[in-house]
Each structure stands twice: as C-alpha cells, then as structure tokens.
Amino acid sequence: MQFTEEHEHFRESMRRLVDEEINPFVDEWEEAGIFPAHELFPKLGEVGAFGLEYDPEFGGGGADHSFTYVMAQELGRIKCAGVPMAIAVQASMATPALARFGSDELKKTYLEPTLRGEMVCSIAVSEPDAGSDVAGIRTRAVRDGDDWVINGRKMWITNGTQADWLCLLARTDDSQPGDYHGMSLIVVPTTTPGFSVGRKIEKMGNHSSDTAEIVLDDVRVPISNTVGEAGRGFQQQMAQFQDERLVGAYIAAVGARKALDRTKDYLQQRIAFGKPLLANQYLQYKLAELYADVDTVEGFLQYAADKYLAGNDVTREATVAKLKTGRLTREVADACVQFHGGMGYAEEMWVARYFRDARLASIGGGADEVMLRVITMMEGMGKK
C-alpha cells in the first residue's frame, strides 16, 4: 500500500479527533456503560470517517480501501475497544450492503444521514438461538401487501439502544427452513411500532459500547426497505462480513502493538531486584516474540488490504486475518496483565480493560471456530 500526503493529512485529522473528542472521555463512557453516539458520530461524519469507500452521490467519499486502512489504524489508538467497535459498525459492518445493493431511495433516506453521523445504525444478524450459525436464524418477515411484517428477536446488537435503524437479516421465504436461501436484509427504523429494546446486555468488556437484545413484534416496514433483491440476504451479509472482519483486524492489530509499547515502557520504569524489570531477559524475549507476531499479522493485513484494493475476493484473507489477529490480541493482553503483576489486575490501570476487551476479538464478528470452519471448507475438508 502506498501512502500519499493525502493519507497523512487524513490520518492527522483522525488522530486529532481521537485525541480531542474521544480519548479524554473514554473513562467516563466506560463507567456509564454507553457512549453518546448521537453526539460523537456527527463529528466523525464531518471528517468523512463513515462511508469512505462509498459512492459520493450518496454521501460517500469515493476513496479506495487504503483510506479505510488508515482510518482503522487511528481507531486502534482509542483507549478502549467499545467505541472503535461502535464506529466500525456504522462505517463498515451495517452499511456496506446498503451502499452496494440498496435502492437510490433507501440510500437517500438512510445511508446519507448515517454517513453524516446524524443517524446511528446497527447490524442485526445474531439471535438468542443462532449466532455463528447464521443459516439458523428464525426472525421472519412475512409479506402482507406492500409491507413486510417482521417477528423475532435479535441478540448482541451493538449500538442497539441508540440506533435509528437496523440492517436486519430475516427469513423471507420459508420453503427451505434452516437453509441459507430465502433470507433478506431489510432496513428497519427503530421508531416502527412493535420494535423494542428487550434489554441492554451487561458484558465482560467493551463497556462503553451499548449492546442490546431487540424484540420485533409485528413490525411493519415497506417491502421497498429490502436491501437489493429479496432472497439474497445471506449472500449479501456474507460479503458484508468480509468488511467487518478486515476492519476489525486492522483496529485490533494497532491496539496490540500499542499495548506492547505501553507494557515495555512500564517494565522500563518499574524497578525490581535493583534493576528495571525490562532488564530481565525472559521478559525481553517474550515481548520480542510478541512484537514479531504483531509484525507478521500486520504484514498479512497489508497483504489482505492490497488484495481488497485490487478488487479481489478476500474471503480467505478476511477469515485468516480475523482468526489470527483475535488470537494474538488475547495472547498480548494476557502477557500485558502478567507483566504488570498486581497492577495488571487492578482497574485503575489500562491493562485490565484491555484484557477484558481483548476477549471479544475471538468471538465477535464470527467466532474463531467459525473462521476455522470457513478455512476447512476452502481446503475441501468437511461438508458445506
């Protein structure tokens, strides 16, 4: 990837925004269990963080993927994982299908204000009884005249208590139950009667990001809210997952390097047995090993980004990136806690938060086991 002066200027804008509008408030938001999306997102919208790669006619930036990479790297500098995740949901997880396949009217009504940050959105795929097994979802949308009537429950909905609309995956054709055919992505405004937030879920980490269970009880939306062609929802969502997994990995890799840097600084300052802890060769080698792993993952991510940039299918790369970055994040977080000793276990330092947040990296956006399953199928092992 070649970075130009424009990339550096955009990086500088993102960095300033993170340093001035986000990082000073992270502790407060973590404590509150939510961040003010409707206050923060317009600032990100103004800088162009949402919809970088989308069509300028509908509020996008018309940029190539290298700018998304730069943005994700700066989001990785946020002092928690909850806020960057919430931003990435709006930028790269809930909107790609709408931008790619949505009608002009749908894009005018929902995509444009979302890219300006005036609307907040969520992606609603998982359910209480179907997470990794996307084909097993039960939420149904039944056609009634010009409307869909939707019933079901959605789980783990990031931004769920604040969202103005959801990109929701529902079963729209019952002829092949339990199969991936007959699903559709539908834009569901959260003000629609019958829509309710069942509960806000308390989580181990990512405290600043609100996560909800959503209840849909005879929610009626126009058929014209269907993203692209009805019945293609599963495929559209699978494509959308590639953006989600890559961007998530870009963010996490920067976070891992930053965690190692901070731990190294701490070990340099911390004196034990008359010397800085960092003088201990075991700790040096362990950190060196982890730096080497972060280098390797970053190299792979750049390769994946380049391949995406060249217009190739990156299902394999996004899958490997998600799997390896997630595992490395956990390993780094564990080492950081260990090397900080008691302080690593105390909430007053950053390490404990990082450890809690890092655990999601191998679960959210598709668990490690799902990634392994995708690779298994690509290698011709197991059954589709």
């Binding site: 424009e6 200027h9 955009f10 925004l17 800088v47 162009g48 940029a63 700018f67």
Partner: protein, 259 residues
C-alpha cells in the same frame, strides 16, 4: 468578501528545535513542519465568515518549498486558493523583511480582511500583523477573541487581562486572532482530496518587486552571535523541614531574587 489568511509553517510545537551551526538559523529539517496553531484559528475564522456571508479565502504563506504542505493543509480545511512566496533569497528573513514580502504579495488584490494568528509558536514576536498593516496603510485590530463583519465595519473583541475591549475599523483591515476565538475544524477526507486541485500561485522576490538585498539573513536587523544547547536540568535544592523550613525557603527565594 475577500479574505486573506497569512499562515506560517513552524516546527512541530512538541519537537526539540535546533539552530543550524553554519548560520544560526532554525534547522527546519530537524523537526516536522506544521501549520502554526494560531494560524489554524485564523483560517477557521475566515471560513466561518465566508460560510455566513459568502466570499473567498486565500491563504498566503512565505517559506521554503515544503511550506507548500502547510498551504495545502489550510486548503484542505476549506480555503479556496493559495499564494506561496518562495525564494532562496528569503532564507533567514526577520519579521521586518517578512512583513515587506507579505505586504507586497497582499497589496492590490482587493482583500477586505487580512487575518493572522496573533503569534507563531517558533518566533513568538507577535509583530508581523502590525507591521503588515503599517506597510499597507491599513487599520489593525489585533488579539481578536471575536470578529464581526457588518457591511464595511469590522468589529472585534480585543483580548485584555481585564476582559476585552470592543474596537472597530472600516474594511480593508488587518486582524490577528487568539485561540479563544473558535475551535478549528478537522480537515475532512473530501476537503483533503479537493485541496489537491485548488490553485496555488508561487511568487519570488523578483515577482514581488523587492530588492534581494532588502530581505534574507544579511538584511536582518538582528543577528544571533552565538548559541548553546540548553544545559541539562540541575538537581534541585532539597530543604528538610527541621522546624525552620519556612525561613530557609524564604532565604533561598530571597537569594534568587524572587522575593
């Protein structure tokens, strides 16, 4: 309304700055160049004024080749065009020569308002806006914490220790701003990409009609005779309180002529 904003590229505020041994001028290669922070506020104010009243913002900067990045930064915030005064003969210019070059570049272009940041983070003299106003024969409204344009009347709140003074003048006028005036925007992705296509004129000393001998290091009214690196911090004096600690501290402060 036609507004000029004079901006300067300065070494990154947080970087260690060095002077070049050969001519005692700032080593611009030793630190990253950035848009002087107070000038960002001036650019922001200009953008707000034309967003409200219509018009055009032109960014003017004197500096070496790489000061072009700084002009580009101001253009990415939303300014319309740039003027870059660049000439090796200008190297080492003091505030007097700088003001001469800026005044020549500004005159005759029909600017209603000429904005400056009130000082640069490197030289910190705060004199260039006043000098430019004097050379152009224009009123100067300096240290503005608020600017209002009402027809041809420009009114500012001039920041003072006791609050502010309200002063006004008729356009065209030179205004320098303080950081209290606004919150500068972050250049957006679209602004950054658009900046690439905006026009930037370059002007040399000859284009300005200045004699080369009147600018640059040799023409400066002040000179650096010698300089030395800042000495390392000396260890502080520790006074243990044995009951007379207060007296000892007072003695120490008295010796240092603080009290």
């Amino acid at each position: 309304m036609k507004i000029a904003v004079c901006v300067k590229q300065v070494p990154d505020t947080w970087a260690e700055k060095r002077l070049k041994p050969e001519d005692s001028t700032l080593d611009r290669e030793s630190a990253e160049g950035v848009l002087n922070e107070l000038d960002e506020y001036a650019v922001e104010e200009a953008l707000r004024l034309i967003e409200a009243q219509g018009g055009e913002v032109v960014v003017v900067s004197m500096g070496p080749e790489r000061a072009g990045e700084t002009i580009r930064k101001a253009l990415s915030m939303g300014a319309d065009a740039g003027i870059h005064i660049v000439d090796d003969a200008l190297h080492g210019s003091d505030a007097i020569a700088t003001s001469a070059a800026l005044a020549k570049a500004l005159e005759g272009r029909g600017f209603d308002l000429i904005l400056f940041g009130s000082e640069s983070t490197d030289a910190r003299m705060s004199v260039v806006p006043a000098m430019v106003a004097e050379r152009l024969g224009l009123p100067q409204l300096t240290f503005a914490q608020k600017v209002e344009v009402d027809g041809s009347t420009v009114r500012i709140e001039r920041q003072a220790e006791y609050g502010y003074d309200s002063i006004e003048a008729s356009a065209p006028v030179v205004v320098s701003v303080v950081e209290k005036i606004n919150e500068p925007r972050y250049p957006s992705f679209k602004g950054i990409m658009a900046a690439k296509k905006k026009p930037v004129d370059t002007l040399t000393v000859a284009d300005l009609g200045l004699e080369p001998v009147t600018v640059g290091l040799a023409a400066a009214w002040s000179a650096v005779d010698e300089f030395a690196a800042r000495p390392p911090k000396a260890a502080g004096t520790v006074i243990a309180d044995d009951g007379a600690g207060g007296v000892k501290i007072a003695d120490y402060l008295s010796q240092q002529k603080f009290i």
